[in-house]
Amino acid sequence: MLVLEDINVYYGAIHALKGISFEVNQGEIVTLIGSNGAGKSTSLKTISGLLRPKKGKITFKGENLANIAPQSIVANGISQVPEGRHVFANMTVIENLELGAYLRKDKAGVKQDLKRVYELFPRLLERSSQLSGTLSGGEQQMLAMGRALMSKPQLLLLDEPSMGLAPIFVKQIFSIIKEINSSGTTILLVEQNAHMALSIANRAYVLETGKIVLSGDSQKLAASEEVRRAYLGG
């Protein structure tokens, strides 16, 4: 579905992604794990078109994504929940969700998806007319995810959904990610919480300073000595 080939991204003189290649297949949950600064968020930003690769190719359903505008990438079916949630704090919950469906013209479909988001996150329905800046961190994460779902993505990119959340919220968020996936949305998950990420993913890639150093079935990676030592604290 999504294929990255030899992607090189620079921040000025800093070589952030040094030729990474990976793929996500339809229906999968794939996770990118790695420590701070490994290039996980950079990878997602590049897929969404916020950063431009200097070299390399990104294809989504056979179509080349490099050098097309971010809005066309969203229109093509890729939606991202950014790190730190980035909800529009000056707008209400419902306005945030409506912005998620910004490019959609099918009003009936949008209404249906709004209903679905409220079913997934009943808390958002309770707070729909509240300013989103007044929500708790966990609720903002739910809002950011709901907002991304409103574009009806085929591929959902999630950047550190567990960051800064209480353990009870983390569990809830991860079970919702599984639920979203089982209803047909492919997921690419970036996480520092490698343990949680590996527990729900089909496959995983391990990033280290801009390179992919390990990849494979997530159960096997979770059991491997290298990953356990570096990322699972044991």
């Binding site: 916020l50 809005q71 998620g100 490019l103 800046g133």
Partner: protein, 296 residues
Amino acid sequence: MGSVTLQFLQQIVNGLSLGSIYALIALGYTMVYGIIKLINFAHGDIMMVGAYVGWFATTTLHLSFLPALVLAMMASAILGVLIERIAYKPLRNVIRIASLITAIGVSLFLEYGGMLLVTPQVRTYPPVFPDTIYNIGGIIVKYGDIVMIVTSIILMVLLHVIVQYTKIGKAMRAVSFDTEAALLMGINVNNTISATFAIGSGLAAAAGVLMGVYFNTIDPLMGIIPGLKAFVAAVLGGIGIIPGAMVGGVFLGLTESLVSGLGWSTWRDAVAFLILILVLIVKPSGLFGKNIREKV
């Protein structure tokens, strides 16, 4: 009513007229700042261009007030979009002082380019409105006062509806709050910025036409002082905040009128700036400014 009360109420009427002009200009300043964090110093000059288009429409084309106003707003909206695309857009991702200096350059370009084009000569607006004067219990209200205030209110209500309820308005708020997140929603940021310039410039043009009609005369440098005042009004209300610009503009107009009414008209600008300084000392983010604390 005592003469002091009468005088006071009279200055309130004058102040509201003047203030609604400041408010209309201040809105453009604040909207543009809100979306690209640029103080568009050419904004007052866009107002001047609007005043000239309105003058041209009423004299040469013999249009009445409303069509002239619409024509001026449209012409200035296009000018505003062109200025953004040509002068500011290429500088969007470089150090901010570059676009600030460019804005001053655009301002001078419009002022002195305008002089070349229409000569520095002062032009007189034709009498667009009847000279009717209403005497309401001793307070003199000119027909022009009413048109000015009513037009401003209508435009501000329209703006409020656009910003709060339309798709482009929501996109404008989204981009001004968090450009990167707006991109992830699929919002076309360039078009949204253009729309902001178009609306802000259109409002400035409306102010320009109203000023021409109200004060009768226009000239290529007429945008400088109202532009500065409107900038003060925008900062006073909290730059980037739309209701702040409205309140700031009206507040400034009222202050100036009341100071003049007390017989200290030479001090009115000084008082306006003094109030600005005091507000900024007590509340640096302006009257309506608030610091939204981000929850993590």
